[in-house]
């Protein structure tokens, strides 16, 4: 990797001319760079014109083979909530309703996690905090400008971030992420133009967290696995990235 401005890699990325490592690095960069994502999408549309100009009708038998193979190919499930399909008010409210239901489930999961905690008092404190956070995150969903973004891990777990510009707050809902392990925790980060600002710890794979700190113009939220107690800076690649877009 050289020291080139990553913004200039859009062309090589769109034509699949980058090596696997650079390709991955650039995809990570795309999550934080809306103008790069926009340019990349335009290049994909441009290249599609170059590709479509080469169109050749394939042999008739191919269609039969492809269609015959469909029943044996398992389709990936759609994500729980989509980033921006909700155009109408009804659809947006439906998403919020589904999320509220998820939050209710997550509250149960959080309670289980808390029960397993050794110290009863600490557990009670945490339960109170959790319940309060739960209410705040649920309340966030009622903000008129509340928006959500969801990302899925290869293992099928999902993370959903809900944020409201008017309230300057964001919440995170994890569902079905792998348990972080005994001495590990999920840590949330605000993405301040590529600089990651700590935004709280979530020691379970299914639960809710009101992010600490204000949105302050952050571009998105990242989730990493960290040692219990959290880190000052992300120590590894993000498990999830959720741009505010």
């Amino acid at each position: 990797m050289n020291t080139l401005d990553p913004h200039t890699l859009t062309g090589a990325y769109a034509t699949h001319a980058l090596g696997p490592d650079e390709h991955r690095d650039f995809e990570r960069h795309l999550d934080h760079c809306p103008s790069c994502a926009q340019e990349t999408a335009e290049f994909a549309a441009t290249l599609a014109r170059l590709g479509a100009a080469e169109a050749v009708t394939p042999p008739e038998a191919l269609k039969g083979r492809v269609l015959a193979a469909l029943p044996g190919v398992r389709q990936e499930a759609p994500p729980v909530a989509r980033t921006a399909p909700a155009r109408g008010r009804l659809a947006r409210h439906a998403t919020k309703f589904a999320l509220a239901a998820c939050l209710a489930l997550a509250l149960g999961a959080g309670a289980v996690a808390v029960q397993q905690h050794h110290e009863a008092e600490l557990a009670r404190d945490r339960a109170t905090t959790l319940a309060r956070q739960q209410q705040t995150v649920t309340a966030l969903l009622t903000a008129p400008d509340a928006r959500t973004a969801t990302a899925t891990t290869p293992g099928g777990g999902t993370g959903t971030v809900v944020w409201s510009g008017s309230r300057g707050q964001a919440g995170f809902l994890a569902a079905g992420l792998p348990a972080p392990g005994p001495d590990r925790t999920y840590q949330l980060w605000y993405d301040d133009a590529g600089t990651m600002r700590p935004a709280g710890l979530l020691p379970t794979g299914s639960g809710t967290l009101l992010l600490t700190g204000a949105l302050d113009g952050a571009a998105g939220v990242g989730v990493t696995l960290e040692p219990a107690g959290g880190s000052a800076h992300p120590s590894g690649a993000p498990v999830l990235l959720l741009p505010f877009s």
Binding site: N2, T15, L47, V56, V66, A69, V73, T83
Partner: protein, 195 residues
């Protein structure tokens, strides 16, 4: 320029691909069959342009279409149209095939003959759909500088990585990367691809 624009159909006529894909997500095989009719030609043509070998191209086309079936839920309408999404998958798979060990010997041969030209634009002219689009793509490619055009076409139509492009063109790596981007910006504007 205005007649150039009028020559280019802004969208391929035909069914609403987004609507079809949303039915595919729900497992609708009839919708997939209709989607197949709309995208199989571009997919097969692009893959064949990159791979050359018809038998391999059929194989990869089948893989691409099954990937579309499998991952239809990943399509994000806010990030662009369906055909670019499908052709991105097709191009990546074709490039993966080119770069696989199996293709190594073939690649060496192609690098060695890259400067002989002979791009077979007319080789499959009889079977090609969208002749006007092809004309406009050719015309727009001509507006690029030679380095822009070669960088772009070696990467896209032949599946070269940028170090391979740099090697063939005898240009620095950084120059090749920026020329690919500059060339795509010109193509985007010439073809009238909007945001």
């Amino acid at each position: 320029m205005s007649h150039l624009v009028s020559l280019a159909p802004p969208r391929r006529p035909g069914p609403d691909l987004r609507e079809l894909l949303s039915r595919v997500v729900r497992g609708d095989q009839d919708a997939f069959a209709t989607l197949y009719d709309a995208v199989a030609g571009p997919v097969f043509g692009l893959v064949r342009r990159v791979l050359r070998d018809p038998a391999q191209s059929e194989e990869v086309t089948q893989e691409v279409l099954l990937e579309v079936w499998r991952t239809a839920a990943r399509y994000r309408a806010e990030r662009g149209e369906v055909l670019p999404w499908v052709l991105t998958i097709a191009h990546r798979r074709a490039v993966d095939r080119v770069r696989s060990a199996q293709a190594a010997a073939d690649r060496d041969r192609r690098v060695a003959t890259a400067n002989h030209g002979g791009t077979p634009y007319d080789e499959v002219a009889e079977q090609v759909e969208g002749r006007l689009e092809r004309e406009q793509v050719r015309r727009c490619l001509k507006t690029l500088t030679e380095l822009q055009r070669e960088s772009l076409t070696l990467a896209y139509y032949r599946g070269y990585s940028y170090p391979e492009v740099a090697e063939v063109l005898g240009a620095p790596l950084g120059t090749v990367k920026t020329r690919m981007r500059d060339g795509l910006i010109r193509m985007r504007d010439c073809l009238g691809v909007g945001a």
